[in-house]
């Protein structure tokens, strides 16, 4: 140990003004950080998935999602000629995963002593089983491109709902870890379906991007678009309550590494609240 360096260190230490100078310094830093924020930024922060859901709410909603997606692929695979033969194995694999997720969540509810929610009568037209209602999702079980567009939205919704609910089930370490690993599998599904759509001419990346062409739907179907990709352009990611990670500073000024806002937004998938997810799920039964 170099004594000179130690003395340097001691000499450079600000004089202790109170009993706990370090704590005071931290408090000062905290105040400075808050003061440095642009006015009103705190209020503009996106409402992340800070749900008040119980673990039962969370698992029940995830089960509803997985049942819905499983029913969608089951019906699509049963329609002759809808999915090209070359892609049938892809969707058989995706369906197998969704069924495995249904089994896991069902088991979790049963193990917890909960009564399983009844299986809804899913209707993928968006008419909610009422013939007089307008069709929100035409041809999703007869035209491949329309099928793919809905598949993409449901997979994106899955990623975002697991992301929003996963910390609500952290009480159960096993289920928590399973949900995190399922969340990753849903993201692989979404990336694949997005790639399939791009190969057929759609303007879409493998990750939600501001350059993706919107999927045209009637106004009544807006809840699905909101749940699938709404807010993905977010650039304000919290590092502390009310303070965001200064991406422009850490990427473009100090490090001389230019990364566009578009790319920064793509690099982070957003969670959704259970209410936003429920509004979308409710379109299908």
């Amino acid at each position: 140990m170099k004594l000179i360096s130690l003395l340097d260190h001691l000499a450079a230490t600000p004089p202790a003004g109170g009993a706990a100078p370090r704590r005071a310094l931290l408090q000062q830093l905290g105040r400075a950080a808050v003061a440095a924020l642009p006015l009103g930024l705190g209020a503009a922060l996106p409402a992340a998935a800070e749900t008040k859901d119980t673990s039962l709410d969370a698992v029940s909603q995830l089960l509803l999602l997985e049942r819905l997606v499983s029913a969608f692929y089951t019906r699509a695979l049963a329609v002759n000629g809808l999915i090209p033969a070359a892609q049938a194995p892809d969707f058989q694999r995706i369906l197998r995963h969704q069924n495995q997720h249904v089994a896991l969540l069902t088991q979790a509810l049963q193990d917890g002593g909960a009564i399983l929610p009844p299986m809804p009568a899913f209707d993928f037209s968006g008419q909610r089983n009422v013939a007089a209602n307008p069709v929100l999702f035409p041809n999703v079980l007869s035209v491949y491109d329309d099928f793919l567009a809905l598949a993409q939205q449901l997979e994106d919704l899955s990623v975002r709902l697991y992301k929003g609910q996963v910390f609500n089930i952290a009480y159960d370490a096993k289920l928590y870890k399973a949900a995190l690993r399922i969340h990753a599998v849903e993201a692989e599904h979404s990336a694949h379906v997005r790639g399939l759509r791009r190969s057929r001419g759609a303007t879409v990346k493998n990750w939600p991007s501001s350059t993706d062409a919107a999927i045209a739907r009637p106004a009544g179907a807006q809840a699905l678009a909101t749940a699938a990709t709404g807010g993905e352009e977010n650039l304000l990611h919290e590092r502390l309550a009310g303070a965001t990670v200064p991406f422009p500073t850490i990427l473009n000024v100090f490090r001389l590494t230019f990364v566009s806002d578009e790319s920064i937004a793509e690099a982070f998938d957003e969670p959704i609240s259970s209410a936003a997810a429920q509004a979308a799920l409710s379109l299908f039964f």
Partner: protein, 242 residues
Amino acid sequence: MSEHSHSPAWRAQPLGRRGFLRVSAASAATVALVAATGCDTSTPTPELPDPHLLPLPADDNGLFYQTYLLALAKSTLYQKVVETPPADLTAPERALFLNMYDHEVAYRELLRYYLDPALTAQLFPTDFAFNLSSFTLSTRAGLLAAAQKLEDLAAAFYPVIIPLFSSAASYQRQLLLKASSVQARHAAVVRDLLVPGSFANDDVVDAAGQLLPKTPVEVNAALAPFFAPYVISVASLPVPVV
């Protein structure tokens, strides 16, 4: 104003952690000096560790460091692809790699920021690098094999580390959760480029429909050959109960 800026010697240190150890030693010595009534000249000289051994710190910072290393590995690979793409890589594929390069730079610099908000410390020795020489980056197939190795690792790593963070890192954990699905998207893209339809295949997903996990020790072992002569130790990191 960061604590270590009091010491001009800090910035000259090649490795942040070594600097940290030195300052820690200084603090310990300070206590000793204050406690002692006289001036003790027998201050022990600490033995210098192996200069190539880089032990990652315990707890949240150790996890940030390891996640940083994965982002460093991928951004190094993709920078090379962006600068000198294989001749048989198509233009749309090059665009994908440019996007993934951007994402990885964002992760790398985010984690660097978590480790050193002042952005002044040198995290690793100046000659520390992710070495690409064992990959065949002149062909599309060679590039995709390299990329798949790294993307599969990262996709499998994030779900394992997220539960390991302390409650003090809840905001960082939330943002890494947002990144974790994009890691999985990268993995699916690269897998599909190499073998169409190999996304989420049975070699990476178990019979319960869950991505097979990789622990910090497994990830470290997989990356170790590329950081030689440096040796990263993750012995202090939290151990997941899988």
